[in-house]
Amino acid sequence: MAEFLSLQNAVAKHIHDGDTVAMEGFTHLIPFAAGHEIIRQEKRDLTLIRMTPDLIYDQMIGAGCARKLIFSWGGNPGVGSLHRLRDAVEKGWPNRIEVVEHSHAAMACAYEAGASGLPLAILRGYIGSDLPKVNDQIRFIECPFSGERLAAVPSVRPDVTVIHAQRADRRGNVLVEGIVGVQKEAVLAARRSIVTVEEIVDDLGASVNACVLPAWAITAIALAPGGAKPSYALGYYDRDNAFYKAWDAIARDRQAFLAWLNDNVFTTRADQGAE
């Protein structure tokens, strides 16, 4: 049953060094405030799972939180590279990280299988791709009915999933709206979950088939207004595309990155919001 905690307490209580952590949000509703709190609490040796690492994992990797990354597209969307990710992969700074790489289709199916309590996901995928040569987690099975060769990947089952959502009601039920990505699947696939929200309301105002996570499917909820910035929250604020562009120059240089981190994360408190 969802417990209302401060973001600081939620991260301290539920994310531990060495954990496998999924922080989802497909461009929309990326949980930056939680990512910054993880950086501030200097969590280490995390296995980070995310379809699109985006700036949030670029920052966490640059800050030294990660030892492994499971992902399917690691760029700054519409801008270019994730320089902190590249620096870690290409030069081992601040530490070398192991990379396990999938396609989006496989990652999406792996989350879906995790939410479904299954050990594997089956898809028609990776045909002709070199990815199975470099990722031993990609296997193939034969369909017992058609004989067709299909790809199989292990399901995603994180220790903890972190997402950001528009709002929770006072009983701890959560509404996610707009581009819902794999957030529901990521929460249901995980042992524990932290949901940061823009606001806590009396009534979710959800339509009948809306994407609602019941309180009993969530571990902790933390109020974090603006907690998805510079990503966005439909109905609350727009994506800060200018910051995504500006990030390229910040992240390109180790010193500029460290200075940014100091000014914008380490000297900022969780309750001041992200960025």
């Binding site: 992902f71 590249r86 070199d130 595309n241």
Partner: protein, 258 residues
Amino acid sequence: MSLEFTASEMMSVTAARALRNDMICFVGIGLPSEAANLARLTHAPDVTLIYESGTLQTRPDVLPLSIGDGELCESALTTVSVPEMFRYWLQGGHVSVGFLGTAQIDRYANLNTTLIGDYRSPAVRLPGGGGAPEIATHAREVFITVKHSRRTFVNAVDFITTVGFGRDGKAREGVPNIGRGPSLVITDLCILKPDPDTRELVVTSLHPNVTREDVIEATGWDIRFATQLERTPAPSAEELEVLRDLKARSDAHHSSQP
């Protein structure tokens, strides 16, 4: 009549023309997105655009910077989860054309967006596959749009992220439930299509003011030209105006902070 236009504009306009009104297009971010929306704003007002973020039948007023900008969701018919997008809509066989960009492409239209160099210690780490590996096999056909240079058009891609026709041109033969693969490559210099027999990419049309030598110079393999080599029509005034308006609108939108 002679209009001024850049090679990039020529590429976008040509790529846009490839889309028909009745197509269901799974759109990659960047150049494909620019071309797809230009098509929608000119000759193909009802073309159906799908982005991997889950937005079905979207009609953005400005080009999205990311694959999941709010604009895409707000202008969509509906927005589904990402697992549903890949399972029901792409793998389910509803996409008529996948529209992709790439970092490297070879003569058999194999695409590399993973890395330059060796996988375990890459010289350059690229973003990776994203949706492309399955878009390329599930869509009924694939269009690719990319700037033409020796860095991009390489003799052999360092890594096949996304299959065109494989290292030997035969990767799709005998594979059940697979699309027919890349049918069109649009660059800033020319149009290429796979040879019906060998699947090797062949230049079928040169853009205005582009020579065979320009293409040869920009291609990392011994590029072939169709016997009936065409000349791509220049952009019309309307195409250029709509494209420039779209880009100006989008640049202004992405530079302003919310």
